[in-house]
Symmetry: C2
Subunit: 517 residues, 2 copies
């Protein structure tokens, strides 16, 4: 991962000429290069504590060099990138510590408690909500607990169709291990290439194929977490009535309650066929109604997403198409995966419904284009930041009857806050009772782009709460969403989280300042 | 509800001659009538506290008469019935209080805290795990908080396909209100006729059609609960990543964290067609493997259950059939509900799989017979207790690869503990990764049938824990399952529950002794 950009440094991109022309037309081009040569602050951890950490994980797995620490500084939200691009590495950890076993994680937590060292569990570093920017004031230091060495496929149960994975496996690594046995997890968030199994669990991630495979929390049947006050293993059955489902309390706990050291997930057979079709709708509303019809008829495909008119017109994956016939109306991607027979049967059933509702199938090309570019958007953001265009995404979810109000409210808030902004939206996830809305917003950078974005983000978040929607469908709470999260769960909900935190992490060494309002 | 038997006193049954002959053959007949004329202990609540309660809910809704209190004494496990039949009403509440609004519930809880009165939330009174037998020592008295007056359908959202229901609605009442709008909840546990919406939520109930409609916890998209320290409303979207899903902490909280005052559930259109078929399998294993195949192929019907050889032979709903051809092998019920078109399509797809795996469709008669008698078994238990035969059910769940071990372990434990016992089993609920096992056990009553059953129950529960399975798939924890529940969630899980309890109910007035180990 690049310290100032998304993803693989080798995959960094710049705008081609046609894209530059378009961006110039919309926002103007202001070359805004990232500051180079910044270094993180000198490590604050005294030698005796570093020695203690080395005693737990071994000499070579306690890293304090600048490059390593720079790479573990914050996540990949646009504010994170703006800070990194400006050379601000103030949030760098004092050390990066890489345990290999759950026992080492337990010993690290005990050590952190004993010496009051803050611990930030680190998977892929892809948080876009400030989930990796822990408070350090009042602590002896801050350690990034990097799970990069915990990458094993611990067990496969081919009868129950479950697999037990270590938390440090990145999406492609987990898929590759499962593929050797003809299996797939089917979890493909946009962060797939870098994010990890532990991160998916800790943030209740949802992927682009979750309509078919299920949200990550619904894939988890068991997990083990090491907390500062003991280790817990949950998951005796697919479902039970043995009190509240405590698995659901650790899922989404964002490293604030414990470090997830193993996750047992439902797996499926590798699909023989993947078929992604584009469908065109006369309006966002018509397409959304069709999605609702599919969900409520029990006919959800594997992938289902719908861009609004603006996002369809400005298809970021295909700037050449802007203004062409393919940029009118609203584009829906409908993907089916499975055996050839199943895909054909389901595809036909879905097509029958969609045609009846006024949709037009535009074939596989649009679907393939989407599938091909599905993980590319974050690279484009960097290229736009390079020319002074602020780009960020945010997302929410609500019940179907509230969708239009939420859409209008958030769009209006962003457009009011960011002069000349371009606001794009798609429905990214669909349920029987509602859906998520995923917004992409672009605007010319102001003199203080961080303050500019923070104001817009606050306005959008206020609009979500005003509409009675959630502050986050799949990006998690981190530090950025905390004020609105507190409103969403109310004072009783906040007290419950604080009580659980106090019980499991009484000295507050785990990811301080993250999640808990 | 009858104070010493299951259900509607008018529906009480006795064994007919052929059944008597069979029972005589198996266990002998020992007429064991229930003691009549027992009365609960005199109410311990002083007049000033009763007056305070009357001030909250009104004179006529604070009941202290013996009959009303007898009817709110414990639940309907066989131990509960044995105690009631023996005239033991020691656990009767001191008063039954019937609020009509959430505000009254809140005031009752505040009053209970102020005067240290124990409060047992009461829905249908159908608990079979001691969920209504709260500890009273150390309290000024014990009040049954009867939700019988909170029976409204508060809202229907036909676009989002959700309905908001008050907790006191019994299964048939909720279905009747929804049916007026062409909707169904589709939740049909064996307790359906008496159990309530609030109880379904508080115990994470699962119904006989849950393969198609989903477990109750998966139907809930929102809820409101009054706790002694404040009211919480959760559910801003079908799903989110806003921290842990706190809905799942109140679902299954068994009245120990708060009183659920409203539940918003996913609803479906009333099915036009219900078609239940019987299928015959050469063995329990062959049938179970077929269930697993259906679940893992995404082909689950609405109803799917499979009796083992013993339960198929001793089909309690059809004693006349014993020894006939229909009593050999293993009977599976496969039910489909929906539009005529959908039912036919799904039925054909499922039949194709089942035939390919060696199943034989035996037609609708067996399915209809099951559907007709689906809520009758608890009445039969009373008739058997009348002739000195102890009958009880217990249930568990595990992953598919562990099914045979769990089945053998629990069966062996019951047969070893109960001399001459008849142990029947069916797979009652099916998931992609596993299933539940529902055991029915009958044995001749010993001199102390309560102790006799408690020993057998402990042996069976030990076997579940030894097999790594859950102590309860859908009956909840109550008081009876607490020791094994504590093993299942481990010391960290226990501490989390205690911490949440201490936060929400610091003086411990809610359902004391229930759920929390």
């Amino acid at each position: 991962m690049h310290p100032q950009r998304w993803g693989d440094p080798g995959a960094a991109t710049t705008l081609d000429e046609s894209a530059r022309a378009l961006v110039d037309l919309a926002f103007g081009l202001t070359e805004t290069p990232a500051v180079s040569g910044a270094t993180p602050p000198v490590t604050r951890l005294p030698e005796e504590l570093l020695a203690g950490l080395r005693g737990i994980v071994g000499e070579e797995h306690v890293l304090t060099d600048d490059d390593t620490r720079a790479l573990r500084t914050r996540g990949k939200s646009t504010p994170d990138l703006l800070k990194a691009r400006a050379g601000d590495l103030a949030d760098a950890p004092d050390a990066v510590v890489r345990p290999r076993t759950p026992a080492e994680v337990e010993r690290l937590l005990a050590f952190a408690v004993e010496h009051h060292v803050a611990v930030v569990p680190f998977g892929g570093g892809t948080s876009v909500t400030g989930g990796l920017a822990a408070q350090r004031d009042g602590y002896a230091g801050l350690v990034s607990l990097d799970l990069v060495r915990m990458k094993r496929l611990l067990a496969v149960d081919p009868v129950s169709m479950t697999a037990t994975l270590e938390p440090g496996l990145r999406g492609p690594e987990a898929e590759a291990l499962l593929a050797e046995q003809g299996l797939t997890l089917g979890h493909f968030p946009q962060s797939f290439e870098f994010a990890t199994i532990g991160g998916f669990a800790a943030t209740r991630s949802s992927g682009q194929s979750s309509a078919g495979y299920g949200r990550f929390d619904s894939l988890v049947v068991g997990l083990t977490a090491a907390t500062p006050t003991g280790t817990v293993t949950l998951g005796t059955a697919p479902a039970n009535a043995a009190g509240p489902d405590l698995r659901q309390l650790l899922l989404g706990s964002e490293g604030a309650f414990g470090v997830i050291t193993a996750v047992t997930v439902r797996v499926r057979r590798t699909p023989a066929v993947k078929r992604y079709d584009g469908w065109r709708w006369p309006s966002f509303e018509a397409g959304a109604d069709a999605m609702r019809t599919l969900a409520q008829a029990g006919l959800l495909p594997t992938v289902l997403r719908l861009s609004d008119e603006a996002e369809t017109a400005i298809n970021l994956a295909d700037p050449d198409g802007i203004g062409s016939e393919s940029s009118t109306g609203c584009l829906m991607i409908v993907g089916h995966e499975g055996t050839a027979e199943l895909v054909e049967a389901r595809r036909a059933a879905v097509a029958g419904v969609l045609e009846g509702l006024g949709g037009t199938c535009v074939g596989e090309e649009a679907g393939q284009k989407w599938a091909h570019g599905r993980f590319a958007a974050p690279y484009l953001r960097d290229a736009l930041l390079d020319v002074g265009v602020l780009v960020e995404t945010l997302e929410t979810a609500t019940f179907w009857s509230n969708r239009e109000r939420l859409y209008a409210g958030v769009k209006q808030a962003l457009e009011s806050s960011l002069e000349g902004a371009m606001v794009l939206c798609h429905i990214s996830h669909v349920y029987e009772t509602g859906c998520s809305l995923y917004f992409t917003v672009a605007a010319k950078e102001a003199a203080d782009p961080l303050a500019q974005w923070q104001a817009a983000k606050a306005a959008a978040s206020d609009a979500m709460v005003a509409a009675g929607a959630t502050i986050t469908h799949h990006h998690a709470v981190g530090t950025d969403h905390k004020p609105w999260f507190a409103e969403e769960i109310g004072p009783v909900g906040v007290r419950v989280l604080r009580a659980v935190k106090a019980e499991l992490d009484p000295t507050g060494v785990l990811n301080p300042g993250v999640l808990i309002p």
